[in-house]
């Protein structure tokens, strides 16, 4: 495997009596698509939040690109190259598709204490935004207010915004959530197209998509990783089968 981009060492996170992350160590190589799966409440989103800097682990460490980032705030991490999409779509509804993405571009173009020029007319912001929209297949919808997009398109926009800053690491929190079969196929193709150009941590319930996309998979149960391996290794792992079948048949 190529060089290490992201590493977590023994992350622990408790919410009251609930152990959301336990003994969580991940090693994710540059260019890899690494999926986190597990039954509901396994603490997958909690991992994403700790990686993005929205919540802090109680103990443990996170290293990204050769740098300790455990206690850095979310906005600093974003500028270092960690982008994230949200499980519940949170695009800026009143803004157009292009404005949403160019806002994401703006975060990476120096400080925003610029009070005079209309941002909507800055080629520096608009051009990279168009490029990101092409990558997610929304270039034809750039003038539409985000509020008027279909659910699937909003999910695409969500990913487009994450891509806009040209991140090294993309955290995708259930990109297929609430999508029909057609939308899922489209999103799978989209993520497939991003593979290799950046590193992806993927949380997803759609197992077909996960097994198609992931290079390696980590299975979480009650916040603790019980197995990590290639899709083939995970498919035949007896512990995983027990955790999943037990959960689904209950």
């Amino acid at each position: 495997m190529s060089e290490l981009l992201l590493e977590t060492v023994n992350l622990e996170k408790r919410f009251g009596a609930v152990q959301a992350s336990k003994n969580l160590s991940l090693r994710i190589a540059s260019g890899e698509v690494h999926a986190l799966i597990g039954p509901n409440g396994a603490g997958k989103t909690t991992v994403i939040k700790q990686l993005a800097g929205e919540i802090r682990p109680d103990s443990g460490a996170i290293r990204f690109d050769g740098r300790e980032i455990t206690y850095l705030p979310a906005d600093v991490r974003a500028r270092l190259g960690i982008a994230r999409s949200f499980q519940i779509t949170s695009v800026f509804q009143p803004l157009t598709v292009e404005e949403n993405v160019s806002l994401a571009v703006q975060a990476h173009k120096g400080h925003s204490f610029r009070f005079w020029r209309p941002a909507a007319q800055e080629p520096q912001l608009v051009l990279p935004a168009r490029w990101a929209l092409e990558r997610v297949g929304l270039e034809g919808r750039s003038r539409v207010p985000a509020a008027h997009l279909s659910h699937g398109e909003r999910r695409q926009l969500e990913v487009g915004m994450a891509l806009a800053g040209n991140p090294k690491l993309l955290l995708l929190d259930e990109p297929m959530a609430g999508m029909g079969p057609g939308g899922t196929v489209k999103m799978t193709e989209l993520i497939m197209g991003l593979k290799r150009s950046l590193t992806i941590v993927l949380v997803e319930h759609d197992m077909k998509a996960v097994f198609q996309l992931a290079d390696r998979i980590t299975v979480l149960v009650y916040g603790e990783p019980i197995a990590t391996g290639t899709p083939e290794q995970i498919r035949i792992n007896p512990d995983v089968r027990r955790a999943y079948l037990g959960d689904e048949q209950a």
Partner: protein, 331 residues
Amino acid sequence: MNPALSLRKFVLGTGLVVLLLLPILATVAGDPYLITLFSRILIYALAAVSLDLIIGYGGMVSLGHAAFVGIGAYVVGILAFHMQDGSALASWPFELQSSNAVLVVWPAAILISASMAALIGAVSLRTRGMQFIMITLAFAQMLFYLAVSLEVYGGDDGISLWSRNELPLIDLGDDRAFYYICLICLLIFLYLSDRLVFSRFGRVVRGAKVNELRMQSLGFPTYRYKLVCFSIAGAGAGLAGVLMANQSEFVSPSLLHWTHSGELIVMVLLGGMGTLIGPVLGAAAMLLMEEVLSAYTEHWMVFLGPFLIFVVLFAKRGIYGWLSGTGVESE
């Protein structure tokens, strides 16, 4: 061209022409009091626009905005007091004489209001929602009681000015000249705000109103942008305070009282939150209603209340949204 846009231009154009010609119209109508009334409207409009920058665009509902109006006014009042007294403003660490010049007093007042806003904002912006409302209210009330306790400067009774500040070539004592100064201040502030709202800075502030967490995950340190926005609003309010003190030639603690902040919020809501022209219309509507209704009854608030409820319920973007046909949320 879309009809909502041209209607909007018509409303703006007509409004501007009326405001430019008002002193002439008032003279022709033989009612010079109109000039005073409209000066007041322009000043309140300035304060309301500055408040809308933080409430309407930034989503920071402050119930202490009058504090910055009051600070601006008190800078004028205190300097005037020392001029009248003939005493020095400060004797230590160095002798500092007071001034009556617009070019000294006004920038000083604006700077002090903005700095106070930066201080108060730095603490308040660590909270949000209801806590933010309460903490801004608390700061404003602290300053209110500070003003009341300043016995030297009249305490409860405030300070009476002998004259307005002095500007070379222009006599601010003349109500018409003063009216145009107010109009220029408002127009400049509106123009600057318009640039600001659509700039990179404005986009960050508006984005933080919609979804601050998302802005942070995109890579924006939102706190510092909100703080600068809060200070800019404080500067605008300070200028409004300067004009209020000059207009009435009187400064008192009631300027800082929280009910005064409440009035400014009502103006913003009434006119149309999240627009720049809305607060101007809101200020005009409220002061005109007060003027007309209070001629009939001292309980004019009884009529204002239902009217406000009506506007808030039926016109989503206040009077401006209703006039310009953009009642629905739009960019």
